[in-house]
Structures are given as C-alpha cells and as structure tokens.
Amino acid sequence: MVFRDLTAQRRAEQAVQEVADYSRSLIEASLDPLVTISPEGAITDVNGATEQITGLPRETLVGSDFSEYFTSPAEARAGYERVFLEGQVVDYPLELRHSDGSVTPVLYNAAVYRDSSGEVIGIFAAARDVSAQRLAERRIRQQSQEILELSTPIMQLWEGIVAVPLIGNLDSQRTQMFMERLLERIVETNSPLAIVDIMGVPTIDTQTAQHLVETITAVRLLGAQVVLTGVKPAIAQTLVHLGVDWSGITTRSSLSAGLKVALESLSLRVVDRETGEPRS
C-alpha cells in the first residue's frame, strides 16, 4: 500500500480554482458584451453583458450560431472570417439584435485564441455599445445642418431684388452652400440684383473674403449683380489690409443704402405720396 500526501495537490487545485473564479468575475464584471466562438461559429461562452444586450439567457446563447444575433448575419460572418485570416479585427461595426426587436449599434474587437500547442481553438470577441455615441453624432450632424440652413435665408425684397443676411463666421462649406443657394434663387426669381448683407459676420479672413469675391463673380456670370452691404469699420479695415481686389464690386455701409442702389439700378425710386417728391 502506498500513501501519498494529497495536500499539495489539493492546494494547487484550489489555487487554480481561485484564479479561474477571479478571471470569471472579471469577465462577468465587464460592461462590454464578451463572447467566445468556436471555429465552427458556435458560441462557447458569454458574460452577463451579452445576456443583457441580446435579452437571452446564456443557456440559449451557448451552442447557438453567433451570427443569428446580428441584423446582418452575412456581415457578422465576414468579420468572423477576417479574424481567422488576419488574427484580429478592430472596431468592426455591427448591429446586435435584442430579443424584443430593438437594435444596438456596436463596434467589435475580436482576436483568435490558441491552445498551448499554438492551435487556434476559437475567437474571443468584445463588443462596445456605441448607441450613445451614434446618437450624439447624429444630433451634431442634424444641428450643424440646421445651422447651415438657418443661417442663410434668401428672401425676395422686391421684384428683381433678393437679399441675404449673412450671420456668423463663414467657412468654406457654408460659403459653398450659400453660393449655390443664392445662385439658384437668383435664377428662380429672375432677379438681376442680390443684396448680400455681412453685418452679422464678426470677422473676415483671407479665405472668407476670397469666397465672397468668388460668389460675387459667380453671380455676375449669371447676369446679376451683387451689392455688398453692412460693411462695418473693422471689416472694411480688414478687407483693405487683406489686399483682395474689390474693384467692380458695389458696396454700401447699410442695407438701406444697398436697397437704394438696387432700386436705382432697376430704375425705381421711392416717392412721397403727398408731394410726389423723391424720398431717400
């Protein structure tokens, strides 16, 4: 009979168990849904966050095909195959479907994992819920689009005269949009005169000035004329110092002065109803 002291072995087993429990609790504590997938595409393990995001218990998830939980199983499989080809994928965009039908946009980070002999035995994948980020992005896009549209109302002031009050700083994108809309409105309303008021533009740099000159040139090509109004002292100083060629461009300090120029060039004038005398 041989007696062996199992104390050391027990102790080792206990230590292994402790490490395993520790790792498990880390995995379960993760807010990001984590899964492991076998080379055949079946889910082998999930954490609590995965249960929450899919709305399914782990007993259902484990053993099922991973791709059926995405809105686009084909894309999910393509990403999965890329992990095998390249060893990993980073920020792969997919959409997870919850059992109640709601969809969560996620970014997947996945890598292969190997056994001790170096053989690939599966994929470890972590998803990051980016719905809040997507929502914020969409809101920012919407708002900047709204600002773009709000900031350039083009109104018809008189038959043959359109006016645009420019408000805020002009960047290339805004100027491009402003230019296109102004030209369209001029053609639409068949207006030979456009008053562009820059009273609400706080500062002008070389690029902005260049954009303005471009717009004015384009308007001229259409067969219409721009009267630039609302030129404040500070802006006038900048415009001269910038060295932009303003010859051939009609400018006035106020919108009313600009309107007068516009009316004059249409051979119109405002007269006093009583006396018939011209009013300025």
Partner: protein, 124 residues
C-alpha cells in the same frame, strides 16, 4: 457636320446665337468663325450669346468666348452673355474662369434690354 448645329439668328441689328448644350472644342471654334462671318456679312451692333443650355464650361470654352467677344468688339459689336446656369456659374468661378468683363444677363430678354441701354441712342 458640327457647324449645322449652330444657328446665328438676326433680330434687327442684333445677332442671337445659342451655344449647343455640350460643346466640344471644334464646335466652339466653329461658333467663333460663324459669328464673325455673320458680323462681316452685315454688321450688327450687338450680339447675344445664349448659354442657357450649356452644362459644362472648361478653360478652352472660356477663352474662346472671351476672344470672340473681343473680336466682335473690334468689328463694332457689343456682346452680352446670357442665361448661364447656377451650377455652371459655381464651377466656372471655382476654376478661376471669370470671363473677363463681358456683360451678362439672366436671360435673352434682359440681354436685349441691356444691349439697348449699352447702345444707348444707336438704333438696333
């Protein structure tokens, strides 16, 4: 032949030419020749170049048109360019093609009125 697609109309003392919608270099050169020949035939005081159907403008187009306007001026005529499309005006400007100081009008109607003003007093 390309030349058949260009018609030079005469209305009183004014020539009206509609530039084809998608003019290639030959068509534009041909247009210049046709306009100058018409000027020679019986001199006109004004020329309206209608480009309302033109979709694209390149540097050759811009240069030839500018030159034609100068040539017509040398033969005693004033040119008004009419009907440029908004999208064409945007690209033209962005390409840096300003077409010099050629008078422009929104449409042929306004171009005729403008010619009347420019020619002020001379009968058209």
């Amino acid at each position: 032949m390309m030349s058949s697609s260009i018609s030079v109309l005469r209305l009183g003392g004014v020539l009206i030419v509609t530039v084809p919608s998608d003019p290639d270099d030959d068509t534009i050169s041909d247009l210049q020749v046709r306009v100058l020949q018409a000027m020679e035939g019986s001199p006109a005081l004004g020329l309206v170049l209608d480009i309302s159907t033109v979709q694209t403008v390149d540097s050759f187009f811009a240069r030839t048109i500018t030159e034609t306007v100068q040539m017509v001026a040398l033969m005693g005529g004033i040119t008004v360019l009419s009907g440029m499309q908004a999208s064409v005006a945007v690209t033209t400007t962005q390409l840096g093609l300003t077409l010099g100081t050629i008078p422009t009008a929104l449409d042929i109607d306004r171009a005729m009125v403008m010619l009347g003003t420019l020619l002020d007093g001379r009968r058209i």
